[in-house]
Subunit: 497 residues, 2 copies
């Protein structure tokens, strides 16, 4: 079948022929050429389309629906927490950006400046928002006049420009992406601390329950925290193929630093997740046949394909396909039939495998005769004949299993990459093996800088990824892997996106 | 009460005192100084906040929730029509913008150009999207390779820059606003024609059923249609206070003009509505106490306010308020109680009247004793005592009545402005009286240009608003009001936003 698993030896040539013939299939494998595989799979899977401006991509409906499924969940959850949506302008005046010096240093090299409107030069150039802390907070001090105006909890769903190094196109620098950014203000640190973790739990939920990706909840080091904030928590994922960690979403406590700047004494948080989530999902689950989508986020959960044979009751098969879709849809399962007549069943299989639909249902003459359908799982290729009498419960059960299996397999692969090290030599060796390294650390900023300096190279330097909230035991006398000083905590280290 | 109706004679001074004392109330009346009244009501009603870049405004949660309520409806409806959401980049390369000459002429003077990234000048400046026809359609020709790839129906919810003359801040030029833009491609003109009207009906629904604003469905003249398109339909509203028509939303058939440019022969439509809808709503329903929100779109439908007296059972009253909110919320009514202790009931009344909440429920000692609540309608001030036994059904009934009454009153006011004219003299007189003018017209572009030229003045020229689909009888021999040539149709004329 086009797009099928490619053997290591000599498969390349054959593969390209198949691709040419059908317009399907991938020219690269995930193991051999991860970067090219990724670029190809997001385009062939119809998630994105390249655009004529560098760093910009079109989010096609197949990706957008995943974003919308996550958004529906997250938006409802934050509304339960009394967070309200708002919309701040895209344009930012230069003075506002420069308000917080540490903060802006991270963004300035990337900021896009509008200097002309039509044919006229602007008197003062205006920036396109990178992130909205300094944009929003002057208004917070205006709106928060009395203690009783607290808490103030706002969120916006919007596009942001030029600050993210890793988005849907993970290997490239993406100029613009979609995200939500929550910005909240409280009277006390306790309230702020509590919210930071509530939001982080929602992010874990999105990754683990929706995208079937195992993540680690933890705290970022001083060097890696959000510039200008008090502390940063994150959910971190890991890509075994490249041996790189990736920050999945962050929930920051900003403390009173920004508030002071704008002359109020509130405690502030900000938190965000972006379309990068979709990129991580593609990297973790995709295979050599294309995308593999978790049922919970996939626009389509079941694709029904008729498999007519010569002399068979073609109309009966097509009708059974249509009836199957109705039955599943009525039960709340997102199902469609691919009844196009100009494509062979085999072509359709490859097409929907490329797009990663979790479950394929085939109906041929034998199925029709036996009042059954054949269900084929995208995640592991398993085939099951299902009586049409038990269609809904069986399909529901299979979708649940697929969701769980994707998570289990991803977790197994991730866990297999974790290497506990205690010395610098072990650390260097594990880094060379693309491991997710858990090491005892003295928690000193200078030591992290030193680790970065000593591991600088073609692949990029290693850095701390996060200090997991769930800490293994740290026996007395344990020493920092890098400095030899007394260790204070276990921290994940590695290269990252 | 602060913010109450102001008498014409000498009310101004007293009013400002009240405003100063309570921080509530409006300094301007809708009838006397519409523009100032509008600017004040959207800010004091917490819909928008001014921003430090000209033409940009912050959409606060009170406005955003209205946008979200309309979005939930519209998004579900277009999904039923198999329209899929996508997201195209904010940035546009200059070549793309210049593809369609007629089309771009309308936008070019307004386009914002990014010329710098960080400290570096860009080799080629990039534009911020005004509207996405020329941005999207090159990709449409890529995606539509065969007849069976049709229809292609995409929509995006996004921010747009600098092309709208009238948005939430209706009197100013708004740089950035939120909208949806649908872009569809069909094999036949019939399919495209059908969709144009289906979408227009959804826009009518939003205006009439959600925003309680009467609109006229019709077709724009050749001069006023979307540049580069085949024909434009619109829903048009009218603002009696200023005597100006306002285009509420448009559904365009683009014909094959854009398709030819990108070398395909499909029939295309595009359609959009924006946050302007909210501005129209404020203008139509607002009064001298502030905003008046239709129950269907208001974030809050009922505000419950305790009215404690000395020696009364204050705790009992507060408990009754909280219980009332629970009862209403459980029945799906959006209700909250204002239990803040530092504000008087009178202050709270004014506050929530300013914000336009459709129904206020007051609970005082007498209400508590009688197991009743007092309901006060925002639209007409009507007070009703409701037994708590029948709370839900009575409140539901009142909200329905408020929604209907807002529409009826708006329609009455709008209809009272319609003037049927047959001659140029009648036309000029009606225009001076700020009427919505219905006149027989020869439908010639030169004649419309002539009407514009002859009415040019301080208030702006008159133009055709739309030719309503519902045409009154046009007796044989009827002459055009402007040219004296045989009339072909009845068309609405007037000044517009």
């Amino acid at each position: 079948m086009a797009g099928g698993e490619k053997k290591k030896s000599g498969g390349g040539g054959k593969k390209k022929e198949v691709k040419k013939e059908t317009g399907l299939g991938l020219s690269f494998t995930k193991d051999e050429n991860f970067g090219e595989w990724y670029s190809e799979v997001v385009v062939n899977g119809e998630m994105i389309e390249y655009y004529d401006i560098s760093g910009c991509y079109i989010l096609r409906p197949w990706a957008m629906s995943i974003w919308e499924n996550m958004q529906t969940f997250f938006d409802a959850e934050i509304k339960k927490m009394k967070v309200k949506n708002c919309y701040f302008p895209l344009f930012v005046s230069p003075g506002v950006l420069q308000k917080e010096k540490d903060h802006i240093e991270g963004f300035a090299p990337e900021v896009a400046w509008v200097t002309k409107s039509g044919e006229s030069d602007l008197e003062v150039p205006i920036a396109i928002r990178p992130t909205s802390e300094t944009v929003m907070y002057p208004y917070y001090s205006k709106w928060i006049r009395r203690h009783r105006d607290l808490p103030l909890k706002l969120n916006q769903w919007c596009n942001v420009d030029g600050f993210c190094t890793a988005n849907l196109m993970l290997d490239c620098r993406s100029r613009e992406f979609l995200w939500q950014e929550g910005h909240t203000a409280f009277a006390t640190k306790e309230e702020a601390d509590t919210e930071v973790l509530q939001i982080l739990e929602l992010y874990r939920h999105i990754y683990e329950e929706f995208l079937a990706i195992p993540v680690t909840k933890g705290r970022k080091s001083e060097l890696e925290k959000f510039a200008g904030g008090l502390y940063t928590t994150s959910v971190g994922a890991f890509i075994p193929n490249t041996g790189r960690g990736i920050q999945g979403a962050t929930s920051h406590c900003l403390g009173q630093n920004f508030a002071k700047m704008f002359e109020s004494m509130v405690w502030q948080n900000s938190w965000a997740y972006s379309t990068r989530t979709i990129g991580v999902m593609v990297m973790v689950h995709g295979d050599n046949k294309g995308l593999v989508l978790p049922p919970k986020v996939s626009a389509l959960q079941v694709i029904v394909i008729p498999v007519p044979y010569k002399d068979a009751d073609t109309q009966g098969i097509f009708d059974a396909c249509a009836a199957t879709v109705v039955t599943l849809s009525d039960a709340g399962i997102r199902a469609e039939a691919d009844l196009r007549e100009n494509y062979s069943p085999g072509w359709k299989y490859s097409n929907w495998e490329m797009k990663g639909v979790p479950l394929r249902i085939e109906i041929g003459p034998r199925d029709l005769a036996n009042n059954q359908v054949r269900a084929v799982r995208r995640d592991n290729g398993e085939k099951t004949d299902i009586s049409r009498v038990f269609l809904v419960e069986q399909v529901k059960g299979m979708l649940d299993k697929i969701q769980q299996n994707l998570f289990d397999v991803a977790k197994q692969k991730r866990d297999a990459c974790i290497e506990v090290v205690k010395t610098w030599d072990e650390f260097v060796k594990a880094l060379g093996q693309k491991k997710l390294i858990l090491a005892p650390w003295c928690d000193e900023e200078e030591v992290e800088k030193d680790v970065k300096a000593r591991t600088r190279g073609e692949m990029g330097a290693a850095k701390s990824l996060c200090t997991p909230f769930e800490q293994p035991e740290l026996p007395d006398g344990t020493k920092c892997f890098a400095s030899g000083k007394p260790a204070k905590k276990w921290t994940y280290w590695g290269r990252s996106y």
